[in-house]
């Protein structure tokens, strides 16, 4: 069946057939070759070299959730890109940050955004946050074949749950396994260091400002110990992407706001290289 989207001909029958509200289901029936999961990969020897994104962190606070990522993409031991964007709005009330093979991840995000928007337009209502998280699970699972060849995509999904009135975080493994995280979460190569930092700094009663500072502290610590994670690049004015999702929806901090947080942290680190300390007991 030829996609009649290029010509100005009549809409093909598939477009007018009542059915699923899912864009992926529609693609699967109408143009399956466009679905990333249906791609046939030639057998390869060794690992495919492609830029990888690294560390994504998220933290909840009363009234919302913060999702942030560093800006570095690496290919082997080379820095492939210094200003990559790895945190994207999924829709008005959720965002997704991606670690893993950058090209595939960005494509997955694009399809995921479209999936949510398509559902919303067809049904006239948004998916529940749980529904969105499950949809992302399905997409990662369809990428399993490529993940086995070293092209894994591991996202972190965060959003404001309008039904429960709070921010929530979901993390994933390469097989699409999904788990809800309490308080804070991290994914990607620097995630172990970031998680350590967040574990010491996290409290239940953070304000939004404290939460955005916390994630940048965590990213700084990840960059400190993981060569694949980039710290705030003051010389080039490249700062982490920090996004906040509350009842009012998704908001990305402006470069000025992000630079202010990053600079104040850098200044403190000049005096105290290991950052803020938690009480011993």
């Amino acid at each position: 069946m030829e996609a009649n989207t290029r010509s100005t001909g009549r809409l093909p029958a598939a477009f007018l057939t009542p059915g699923s509200s899912s864009f992926m289901d529609f693609l699967g029936e109408h143009q399956p070759e466009l679905l990333p999961g249906n791609r046939q990969l030639p057998p390869t020897q060794g690992v495919v070299e492609a830029p990888h994104g690294t560390t994504i962190v998220a933290v909840t606070f009363p009234g919302g959730v913060v999702l942030a990522g560093d800006r570095r993409a690496t290919m082997g031991n080379v820095i492939a890109q210094r200003d990559i964007e790895k945190v994207f709005p999924a829709d008005e009330y959720s965002a997704v940050g991606i670690a893993g093979t950058a090209g595939l991840a960005v494509e997955m995000v694009k399809l995921f955004q479209l999936e949510l928007e398509h559902f919303e337009k067809v049904e006239g209502a948004q998916l529940s946050l749980e529904g969105k998280a499950n949809r992302l699970s399905t997409m990662i699972r369809s990428n399993l074949g490529m993940a086995m060849q070293g092209l894994a995509v591991v996202p972190l999904f965060a959003g404001f749950d309008l039904d429960r009135d709070k921010g929530r975080i979901f993390s994933y493994d390469v097989t699409g396994g999904r788990s809800e995280e309490q308080g804070f979460a991290a994914t990607g190569s620097g995630s172990i260091f970031a998680r350590g930092a967040m574990k010491k700094l996290f409290r239940e009663d953070l304000t939004e400002d404290q939460a955005t500072t916390l994630v940048v502290q965590a990213l700084y610590d990840a960059a400190d110990d993981d060569s694949a994670t980039g710290g705030p690049d003051v010389a080039r004015r490249i700062y982490p992407i920090v996004t906040v999702i509350t009842e009012d929806g998704f908001r990305r901090l402006t470069d000025d706001e992000a630079s202010e947080i990053a600079r104040s942290i850098l200044e403190r680190r000049l005096e105290q290289p290991d950052g803020p300390r938690a009480a011993l007991l």
Partner: protein
């Protein structure tokens, strides 16, 4: 076997057109107007859930009069067309002109195919531009013709009368409140010229607002925000449309 009666093509088409027009006339009319910051859709609709207006893509809205199941089918087809095109190429490559062409072809093929019953629908596809000059409004009658409209357009059974009323009174650069009140006046005039009252709960209103910071410009106007805009003709300023927090109930 008996031979069927001969019906001239002219007669067959005239019959089909009459059938479709009668179907469309059973529903209420709706209007689409340009105002300073975008395009507003106004119609009488007792249902909260079954919409006459909806979002197709970032800057493109859809309005329909006639048979619900038929235009709903076309609406979903349009959403699929737009999303697939945007996914294959780029979001900027989805245009109202392209969509209107596809709808026109679809309606036209159905209308002239003897095997299918003609659709009893009349559509409007509108795209809001960066400036009022960039706005596009296309009206698509049941037979697959396509009309490029400016300023204001009405579709449905009583469309001709409403259109002429709007043509006389619509001006460029109206505020949202002014355009909305004009639209309600036009819709509430009966065929014999008398005025009836349409309560706010029975109105469905949506806008394509070019000043919205989001990429998606379509927004429904309901509840208190709608009441405020209807209150005092033109008194409320168009900036109220952006005050989204006040509308939450």
């Amino acid at each position: 076997m008996s031979t069927p009666f001969y019906v001239s093509p002219q007669q067959a088409m005239a019959d089909r057109a009459e059938y479709a027009r009668k179907g469309i006339a059973r529903g209420r009319s709706l209007v689409v107007l340009q105002y300073a910051d975008g395009i507003v859709f106004v119609g009488e609709n007792p249902s909260r859930a079954l919409h006459k207006f909806s979002e197709i893509y970032d800057r493109i809205g859809f309005a329909a009069a006639g048979k619900y199941n038929e235009y709903e089918n076309l609406r979903i087809g349009g959403v699929r067309y737009a999303d697939l095109r945007g996914y294959t190429y780029d979001r900027d490559d989805v245009t109202a002109r392209g969509l209107a062409n596809v709808y026109a072809q679809t309606l036209g093929t159905i209308f002239s195919s003897a095997a299918e019953k003609p659709y009893e629908v009349e559509l409007v596809v509108a795209e809001v531009g960066e400036t009022p000059e960039g706005d596009q409004i296309y009206r698509l009658p049941h037979d697959g013709s396509i009309v490029d409209e400016h300023g204001s357009v009405a579709v449905g059974g009583n469309a001709e009368q409403i259109s002429s009323y709007l043509d006389q009174r619509h001006q460029d650069g109206m505020t949202l409140a002014e355009a909305l009140n004009l639209a309600v006046q036009a819709l509430s005039r009966d065929t014999n010229g008398s005025q009836r009252e349409i309560p706010a709960e029975r109105l469905e209103v949506a806008v394509l607002d070019r000043t919205r910071p989001q990429k998606r410009k379509f927004k429904r106007i309901t509840g208190r925000q709608l009441a405020r805009l209807l209150e005092g003709e033109g008194a409320a300023s168009a900036t109220d449309a952006e005050d989204e927090s006040a509308e939450e109930e």
